[in-house]
């Protein structure tokens, strides 16, 4: 009897430890989000979005230039990264379906999604910033695109593989060439998945900091020319948070608030689309 009791007690202890671990996990999430949201919301006002940075000590500065720079860099990265990612994923799932080297490329892409992003920054610095002679927004965009491509390749490959092979065969039987099958049948049935993959990839790279440090660098003026050093929200947060001024910290919190909100909305939206589309299985 004593032994049974001991085992039951052990059972209860072990399960409570597991519940405790779950509470710790949730605790960190709530702790981080709430402190960013609470500290950030007091810095949210119109001048954050409409004004450029003011010299320390003068009130009313904002981060307009960083918002604009971030948007431009992200858009260019998306324009480079999405087509390559979608085409690459298409090759892995369709034309190169059963080939050995396809599996290698797919594994490589998978590994690249967890790659240290700062190394990507160093790499782009050598291939773009050094030859061009100055930091520039294009280099930042290329660095982000390099991070984005493997993510989209993988999600595209996975999504396309979910489309039943018979659907393609039906189209082949009507005499359609492969590219038409992919374009009109496969893409059309996979569009939600593809879109979600792009959404999550954009959400992921738009908030990267490390690859931008040595590529687009920073700048405290509004610039629309990606051939110049471009400010970005994340690098600005880094610089301001490490800086000595109270106003800078306040702006950094405000920018963090915006970034966190952006990421939360995009990733919850992405998950929602996925569960709506594929949740019924």
């Amino acid at each position: 009897m004593n032994l049974v009791k001991k085992r039951k007690v052990k059972n209860i202890i072990a399960l409570s430890v597991s519940v405790f671990a779950a509470i710790i996990g949730l605790f960190w999430l709530v702790f981080i989000l709430s402190s960013v949201l609470v500290k950030g919301i007091s810095s949210i006002n119109l001048s954050l979005f409409l004004n450029d940075p003011a010299p320390p000590g003068i009130p009313g500065g904002g981060l307009r230039c960083a918002f604009v720079g971030q948007a431009i860099i992200t858009v260019i990265a998306t324009v480079i990264g999405v087509p390559i990612g979608i085409f690459g994923g298409t090759f892995l799932a369709e034309y190169g379906r059963n080939k050995k080297y396809t599996a290698v490329i797919s594994s490589l892409a998978d590994m690249m999604t967890s790659f240290p992003s700062i190394v990507v920054g160093v790499f782009v610095y050598t291939i773009m910033v050094r030859p061009m002679g100055h930091f520039n927004g294009y280099a930042g965009a290329v660095a982000l695109a390099i991070i984005m491509i493997p993510i989209i390749v993988r999600t595209t490959e996975e999504t396309l593989k979910l489309i039943p092979w018979e659907v393609r065969e039906a189209a082949f039987a009507l005499g359609a060439p492969y590219y038409k099958v992919i374009k009109d049948i496969v893409y059309r049935s996979a569009i939600t998945g593809l879109f979600t993959g792009i959404l999550l990839a954009v959400a992921r790279v738009a908030v990267e900091t490390a690859p931008l440090l040595f590529t687009s660098f920073n700048n405290s003026f509004l610039t629309l020319n990606p051939n110049q050093p471009m400010p970005s929200l994340t690098v600005t947060i880094y610089q301001y948070a490490m800086g000595p001024y109270k106003e800078w910290h306040k702006l950094a919190w405000g920018a963090s608030f915006v970034i966190v909100l952006f990421v939360l909305v995009l990733s919850i939206l992405g998950r929602w689309i996925i569960s709506k589309r594929y949740g019924s299985e």
Binding site: N11, A14, L15, V17, S18, A21, A22, I24, G25, W28, L29, I32, S35, V36, I84, G85, F87, G88, G89, T90, F91, L92, Y95, G96, T102, I105, S107, L108, A109, D110, M111, M112, S114, F115, P116, I118, V119, V120, V122, I127, I149, V153, P177, Y178, Y179, V207, E208, T209, A210, L213, T234, I237, Y238, A241, W253, S256, I259, V260, V263, S275
Partner: protein
């Protein structure tokens, strides 16, 4: 008409092939570029000497990577020590304890931790966590551990909150979702019959978890841990805020240090002569090799389970 189709199909095929090849090209190009640019430093300092020497002195033009490599490894190990038990507990909770209707929400909430940007972890670490560590947790740890011989060397120094311990803690929060989601997936793969036969033998839930689920899914969990290691090795912004930038090796966890990625972030744009820059490339090259090995190993293990 048919010819046009063939031509278009060929075009589409080559376009997609080239796009897939971009992945391989990027990998090869990264390896080559990092190697070429770090070559002067490799020639000057050698491999073993660079890895073992912690002399990082731009003024005397002597560089050794040991300080940064040590910091990288210590923060990663610390983060694993904190994260592995927590993540396994979370995975057990999700698969075995959580009511079915809450399962999805809870795992989504844990995975949200992975989508919080690293810069936010850094900000939060610097302004929220570091003061808490400095004022409450680290003095407490010193009170407990300083009287104990040997272990006391890990907790010496003035608690500043900007140190290895805080960095390890932040990294652990970042990697929890990676380990717990892979552990959860492999726990779900355990066949129902095995679990039921354990229960039929009169096992308690914990005995079933310990003796059926854990042994069955150890390879999957291991690969999750290795992926998390790869993440922790290369993480930059989250630790850049709370680690300081000190190339000397201290035994104490309450001292500031540096990692490879933090060194790169802090010094890359300031490197003003060739050997300095080349040494930084050398560090980046080492980081590249380290994370490539870790991620490759994880990939290999995951492939094995799927078979």
């Amino acid at each position: 008409m048919e010819n046009k189709f063939y031509a278009k199909d060929g075009l589409f095929k080559s376009l997609s092939f080239i796009s897939a090849l971009v992945i391989v090209l990027i990998c090869i190009a990264m390896f080559t570029v990092l190697f070429i640019f770090s070559y002067p430093a490799i020639k000057q300092f050698g491999v073993i000497h660079f890895i073992l020497s912690d002399a990082w002195n731009p003024v005397k033009k002597i560089f050794g990577g040991a300080g940064a490599i040590y910091g990288t490894i210590v923060t990663t190990v610390l983060s694993l020590i904190f994260a592995i038990p927590t993540s396994l507990g979370i995975a057990v909770f999700i698969t075995q304890i959580c009511p079915h209707s809450l399962k999805k929400y809870f795992s989504n909430a844990i995975e949200l931790l992975a989508s919080i940007p690293s810069i936010i972890y850094g900000m939060w670490g610097l302004f929220t966590l570091a003061p808490i560590m400095r004022n409450y947790i680290e003095p407490f740890l010193q009170k407990v551990f300083l009287p104990i011989p040997v272990i006391k060397y890990l907790f010496q120094g003035t608690p500043l909150g900007i140190d290895l311990l805080t960095s390890g803690l932040i990294l652990s929060i970042m990697i929890i979702p990676f380990i717990s989601s892979i552990a959860r997936d492999t726990f779900e793969l355990v066949p129902k019959e095995l679990k039921e036969s354990a229960y039929a033998m009169g096992a308690t839930k914990w005995e079933m978890i310990k003796d059926v689920i854990f042994p069955y899914s150890k390879v999957g969990v291991l690969s999750g841990i290795i992926i998390a290691t790869g993440r922790a090795l290369g993480e930059t912004m989250a630790v850049a805020f709370v680690l300081g930038n000190d190339h000397n090796i201290h035994l104490s966890l309450l001292k500031s240090s540096t990692t490879i990625s933090v060194t790169l972030a802090n010094e890359f744009t300031e490197a003003d002569f060739r050997l300095y820059l080349s040494s930084l490339f050398y560090l980046a090259f080492i980081l590249f090799i380290m994370s490539f090995t870790a991620l490759g190993l994880a990939k290999f293990l995951l492939k094995r389970i799927k078979k």
